[in-house]
Symmetry: D3
């Protein structure tokens, strides 16, 4: 199968970090290509940037239409996830949704470690949108930008472990999810320091994407995820416009 990893941020750094992890954990026979959003924030970190990225995500997907069997959105806000599911006929997986769903099968109470207190409400809104808010027993926001670079990760690693332990000790979390595309690969490094499973979204998403391709469910033809047809849009890219049922 052909899996497209799409990074709704515009920074190639995230794309390559994610791609590398995706390739490490993909099944034999899964062919991975990547794409990076053409416009918008380097690293989405505000509501306004997220709003812009929704357009960028769909636009990039439209440009790659027909070249993949499934998509993984490699951004922890699962930007435009439902919109992409509506627009495309292939499975679309968000890394945070994938991690949270996987966590449900590994522990009865999920803890989330994320970066930037400012965006914590965005994750909580996502949990509520997904109807999973009762499964998440604790949140911890770290302030550290090291994961967005190639430098020394010792300090942030320690912060992550410490936050995770606190979630386990104080909130009774039984599985920890590291939110953020740049967390790809981190569990391999830190799992052994923690007494419960440590998940990040890219590995979960790749596995879920492969699973959904295998299940081969049809695209819904009714409801809020049915493909748009005969819609009129102006001033968007030709690739994007072609997704709305008019040439």
């Amino acid at each position: 199968m052909r899996l497209l990893i799409l990074n709704p941020n515009t920074s190639e750094f995230v794309t390559s970090r994610v791609a590398s992890q995706a390739r490490r954990c993909a099944s034999l026979g899964t062919d991975i290509t990547t794409a990076t959003a053409a416009f918008g924030a380097r690293i989405i970190g505000t509501r306004a940037e997220l709003a812009i990225a929704q357009h960028a995500t769909l636009d990039t997907l439209a440009h790659h239409a027909g070249t993949f069997d499934a998509v993984v959105l490699a951004v922890s806000y699962d930007t435009a996830l439902y919109a992409a599911r509506e627009m495309l006929s292939t499975p679309v997986v968000g890394i945070t949704e994938a991690a949270w769903l996987t966590a449900c099968q590994l522990g009865t109470r999920t803890g989330v470690v994320m970066f930037g207190k400012r965006v914590l409400p965005l994750y909580q809104e996502l949990a509520t949108l997904y109807g999973l808010e009762r499964r998440i027993a604790g949140w911890r926001a770290l302030e550290n930008t090291a994961p967005y670079g190639d430098g020394d990760q010792t300090e942030v690693d320690q912060q992550v472990v410490s936050a995770a332990r606190d979630l386990i000790e104080r909130d009774g979390c039984e599985v920890i999810v590291l939110a953020g595309a740049v967390m790809a690969g981190v569990p391999e490094r830190l799992q052994k320091q923690l007494p419960v499973p440590l998940l990040e979204g890219v590995s979960c998403a790749v596995a879920q994407a492969e699973m959904l391709v295998r299940l081969a469910c049809p695209k819904p033809s009714t409801g809020s995820l049915a493909a748009p047809t005969e819609r009129a849009l102006i001033q968007v890219s030709a690739a994007l416009r072609s997704q709305f049922g008019r040439a």
Copy 2:
């Protein structure tokens, strides 16, 4: 005060319908200008179009920056409402949020009449995002495109009244909200046929916008609605980029 009415759809028809109602109900001294999104769907009716409109909304707002004291987003999905509140330093009001909040003061159970069963989940997700889902006691989806034109509204009027009555009778609703920017002005026409208050968003939003301007609360400088600063974005309009703290 200067009130900008922004239509995230790209159809001028909606803009002028909304502007006309806004002018009818604005206070003396409120100066109303309008703007229409420059790209995207004629009439937003799918998740993908809504995703695109989030960008278009912010882009249009950025182009009008500095010319208004408050904004009303004239689209029933309250497109990019939280993002606009983050980006701007003036109050931003969404017509559906405004109507639902106003309804809380008029009845203990709100009923919602909207158009297109397909998008019903989008409204319900909005109610959940706002934490108002328990206040909404019933939903009715009509399939009728007449409100998007200037033709005869007799049939759709009857459908609206009939749906509202059903919400009152069966679901015990005590106030009815008509969702949709094109519902502007409709309550004036239909209120007398119903035994409970009938609201639409534009009138509520204009009044709420005036109220917020009067309260003159400061822009938050912390949290998820604080203004973005020193953010790096590429390939967006100069006007929009200038909202992110870098010239």
Copy 3:
């Protein structure tokens, strides 16, 4: 318009504090009169006093029937709010409901600062009754009676600021509501010390009352807020009895 500010407490002090703030923030053309409950607690501070005040509130309203276009209940428990909405044909606004609804448009997470840990459950029951409990991200109870007098407010001001900051820091609140009629005017004094909007109910309620009068929605004639008709009551004041549809 004629706005009645009704204080369900029996202490004139609160009435005059509230009236003064109401006059400061009312629109030109809003004529404010006040009323104070004729019986019950000086300052409502227990469930039993609140129960008595429900009767006192309606009784006082009945005595002023016909002299106002809208009512603001100037007590933080929104005493008898729904009952008054049922009994009267004019809009009725509660200061706490007004502040909480306004807060929804200013921040995604509301913090509440109130006085007296003992009555905290009463506020929480109110939030649940209104279906707004998910919007309130934190509560702080202060023990300080200074606001009920004209003495030095320095210490309590500091406590309020400190509680608000704690709500912002620890609970991620993006807007703060000061509960209590005696908080009227306090935000003017303290807002500049806080990085998010600071609201109190009287200003919000006056603005909302004016807005509701302007919207001119009809009194519901069905449901739990329809006017009582042909009801039999004994041993209540003639003014009150006349509100129940029998002369």
Copy 4:
């Protein structure tokens, strides 16, 4: 033990109906006396009447202070239940709370049959206040005043049975609660026509009151149910005032 049955309505008819059932189901050794509210509605049926009855309930309780070991509030709205628990040092039981709690031990899904669609929201607000809303799987509102008189009950009996069956069939209810003080004694008459337990509040409340007296828990001295002390009230009856800690 001495059990006071207090009817917050002012109609003796309800009092005697309830007293009769209470005596039928009380334990040997339980001495029952009754009281009827001195002012307010004949039969509480509106929010405003309920507000007045809160005062009347406390006033009547105060007049009987010291003459009972427990109180049953014989009104389906559990009028002033929490306020009475705060004011008194004896157990206070509301008939609807008692029935709903008892129902939890008899079926996994409770159905409620009540009278007057208009007041349905009041019961639903009560269920939410009690945190029991998830246990109630269905509601049916009947319009019939026969239970408030001594006439033929055949028709209303049939309506009750029919509503109960519908709750069982369609909503999967496994226990039915008849709300309303006047339903006292009705289950004896109708239980055999139904395949699940049929409860009314008076029997449950008498049994719960006896149980609480037996458990002999102390009055809380902290929190929202602690006795009011040193409170200042004006223009209430001497009996009532004496409950607030000042002679």
Copy 5:
């Protein structure tokens, strides 16, 4: 009435502790017999042991069929409570459900003190199953096995009092429930050190069981608690098999 106290643990120690308290608080005329599970954990303390105990509970009940008018399950997990209600035609009371329901009539916010952080999620799942999760305002897990022996209880008593006070102070709890069959009798010892009611399940359960017997509600013949009929089971005890409608 004949009351069976069934201990789903296999340790006689718990049985006799519970029986002793049950006899102390039962009404005159209540004849108490006890039973202890024949297989499974000495003291249930894991999910797997609880799963085994569900079978053991039903098996023991089946062996005592026909010898009792009501059952109390003397284990804090209320093991197999709903299953036993389905299988038997007599009332079945769980000690934790009984205590939590009783607490609803004594305080507006319940605090729970239990033993073993590991099993805290099990209690929280129980509260959610019962739809009572909103009534429980705080939880405290103690690590102390002293209550499972006859030794000195001074230290654990102090821990319990301290946890209860913390629930009152920090979480505003107005009634405290001690979870655990071995807590039988403890409130008598510690109540005087606490300002709010202190409950344990056995006393509540015995009282509730007597009350349910007195109410004499019929066994439901439909729904998820109706008796199994004509069911085919293999390799279970003859006594147990006979409960499923085939000889």
Copy 6:
């Protein structure tokens, strides 16, 4: 990998139906063995049978300990799922949890078709336990035992399709889950008649089990899913006892 499919029912028929489907959809390299519970109900259909099956499930797992890399519990109640996760060190997947989680990625509103109105509450309790109740927008209970035999399935197929369509039409469901181990293979037959994805648990569970094995998360060593150690049990099978940390 070695996958054990365990049927907690005692009927071989279900085991072989499930095994057949599991083999059809397993990946190359997945070796499937099956086991059937040694005691309990032929087909679990009551709460009491489910209670017994919890023991049987663990007992059977214990007898197969060491022979598998993951387990699928092939019963729609996910019998003993959390207990098995605690007891074992390998992933354990329940077919209903697996289907509901998978459904989250395919539609925004899930509909459930199950057999036997009597057991509907059991599924709803499961959804609540999993914290997924808000994702399930509709339930339909069919009364038909044909799926438990090899006879003509035409009628029940039609009922399933009809129930699914009703969920789509009236409740807006966007994905349908058929609950019941015997539904294995049914979607292949009926999918083409429905406009949204149709899932059954066995296919989802096999895929999820393979995914979890691949993710290779460690067994938690703390919390409610940590392995029992040093526990004392009596009168259970030697195989089962050996799972509790004592030889």
